[in-house]
Amino acid sequence: MVYPPKVAKEPPLLERGPIAWVRRNLLSSPYNIAFTILGLAILYMIIPPFVKWAIIDANFVGHSKADCTGNGACWVFVKEKLNMFFFGFYPHDQIWRPELVIASAAALGAFAKFVRGLHPFKLLLIVLFPIYAFVLLHGGSFGLPMVETSKWGGLLLTLVIASVGIVLSFPIGIILALGRQSKLPIIKSLSVFYIEFVRGVPLITVLFMASVVLPLFFPEGVNFDKLARALIGITLFEAAYVAENIRSGFQAIPKGQYEAADALGLSYWQKMALVILPQAIKVTIPNLVGTFISLFKDTSLVMIIGLFDLLAMVTVTANDRDWLGMDTEGYVFVAFVFWVFTFSMSLYSKRLEKKLDTNNK
């Protein structure tokens, strides 16, 4: 018995299209219908009033509180205080310096995307960039007036802390994760102790320790920069979380990968750097980005040791006698800026994941 060949045809119409999607996802059962209605009701209660406040009734033009007449948001305040939100107490006439740093960072990013692979010139630029940024921001050489770190604030400070924290905690986290995997008992237990200790302590405590305890180790009279103390605290804190992320990545790597690398003759470091870590980091990118996003938001805690990040600038600017009572606008604006950054990070991680996915490409 031989059967004639059959032609593939389209699935039935009911299974496809937007109506089918709504039926399947929003109205599939009485519970589902109830939740859909509840959800719509909540959205209806929140969105129209917010849009009315933030856009329809809002004031955009003017230069002082007196220009804000309607019932809506007074975005004039944010507009007038934009430099404070972005750069804190950085001297007005020097603001071109952080602006130049941010523009250079963007240019470097574009360049790095343009030049593929590990081109030596690109690596050199990336390595030199932090030095360049520090010289430009801090000044005191090349004829630039010095701007002490206590004057840095707002989004600038948030970005400095977050990027230094991310860039430095990454290699330290990798080393800790390798240490935790090590066969040498002393290295292993030191790594475990460090990771578990730090993860058991809130960031505020670490920041306090960094700001109060750290100076005790320095000879009297040596004034150790407050920002540097915060950076050390945050980096060491974050490294423990990065280490745990990477360890979970290690666990996803089959034993056969280690064996194949060994059998080919790779040394421990070659095996880790060329075979295991690239794969471990790849599977752990979503977690890593989650960690970095929370680090980005946690930078606000530096407020308690007297640094003024983006969030702290709300209190500062809304305490201005000419602008009393503008906290709401400040918080909404700051929340929006935070969201723009964290959401971009999350989008970037999705893109990166896709790009690095070598399965069934």
Binding site: A260, G265, T358, N359
Partner: protein
């Protein structure tokens, strides 16, 4: 490509136009067995309290093809993994080309540059392309110039009939193709000895042939091979010796014809009945 590269790599016989040997006797005439290249003496290994290898004595000559068979869990993998020290052992000695296989770093390096391994589950590196899989060790471990490493890699990919896939990633290939890539990767460091651990048992039936063909070609070119497999056809065609392991020891050892048709020990008779009747 083959013509360009044969001056750089070991010059294989078939590239010089010599015909491949038709029979095992022909092959022996072209590649007579050489000096002992692997010497295992009184090898004992335990996993905790479990005595997994018991007093193993085994000598393999240069150019010899040894097939290891035996029930699952009898210690076949453990034995060949001791040879390139993926496993440590507690008693006895293993020598590869006269070099003691122990925890001396220099010895280990030397041994691993002479011994290559092909695994049941291929173990290709999924984040690297096929070509990168092949050039990784030559470039980083053996410090070959990149261009030379690529030429050698392409030569071996051609040899396993897969050069057209060089820029794909392992997961885009079928099982049989991946295993052929794994063989090419193992060959890239020009090892004297190839270890195969059940290279076809994770493959769909229609892909077993293409992998065995590559292995047979290698055998006929005179490579020293130890292969754990139950593929009787392969053993009959190229093996000089078949070894039967059970419960951590070598129970019987014979030429393939005797091994499969006139097994002496009862345990081997039982085993053959089981694998032939399934």
């Amino acid at each position: 490509m083959a013509e360009q590269t044969q001056t750089q790599t070991e010059t294989p016989r078939e590239a010089q136009g010599a015909p491949l040997p038709e029979t095992k006797e022909d092959k022996k005439a072209i590649h007579p067995l050489g000096e002992p290249i692997i010497q295992i003496e009184k090898l004992n290994k335990w996993y905790g309290d479990f005595h997994v290898l018991k007093e193993i004595d085994l000598e393999v000559k240069k150019g010899e093809i040894v097939v290891v068979a035996g029930p699952s869990g009898s210690g076949k993998s453990t034995l060949i993994r001791c040879i390139n020290r993926l496993e440590e052992y507690q008693e006895g000695s293993i020598k590869v080309k006269g070099i003691e296989v122990n925890n001396d770093v220099k010895n280990l390096k030397e041994v691993r540059s002479n011994v290559a391994m092909v695994f049941q589950h291929f173990n290709l590196f999924p984040h690297l392309t096929i070509l990168e899989n092949l050039t990784l060790a030559p470039v980083w471990v053996y410090k070959k110039p990149k261009k030379e490493a690529i030429d050698t890699a392409m030569y071996y990919l051609e040899k396993v009939n897969i050069a057209d896939q060089a820029h794909k990633y392992p997961n885009q290939l079928s099982g049989g193709q991946q295993q052929r890539v794994a063989i090419a990767r193992a060959l890239c460091k020009s090892p004297d000895i190839m270890l195969f651990d059940e290279p076809t048992s994770a493959l769909d039936p229609e892909m077993i042939g293409e992998v065995l063909d590559v292995m047979i070609k290698l055998a006929e070119e005179g490579k020293t091979m130890i292969t754990v497999t139950h593929e009787m056809g392969f053993a009959r065609k190229v093996a000089d010796r078949v070894i039967f392991m059970d419960a951590g020891q070598i129970v019987e050892e014979n030429d393939p014809e005797t091994f499969f048709h006139h097994p002496e020990s009862e345990r081997l008779q039982l085993f053959l009945k089981q694998i032939l009747n399934h």
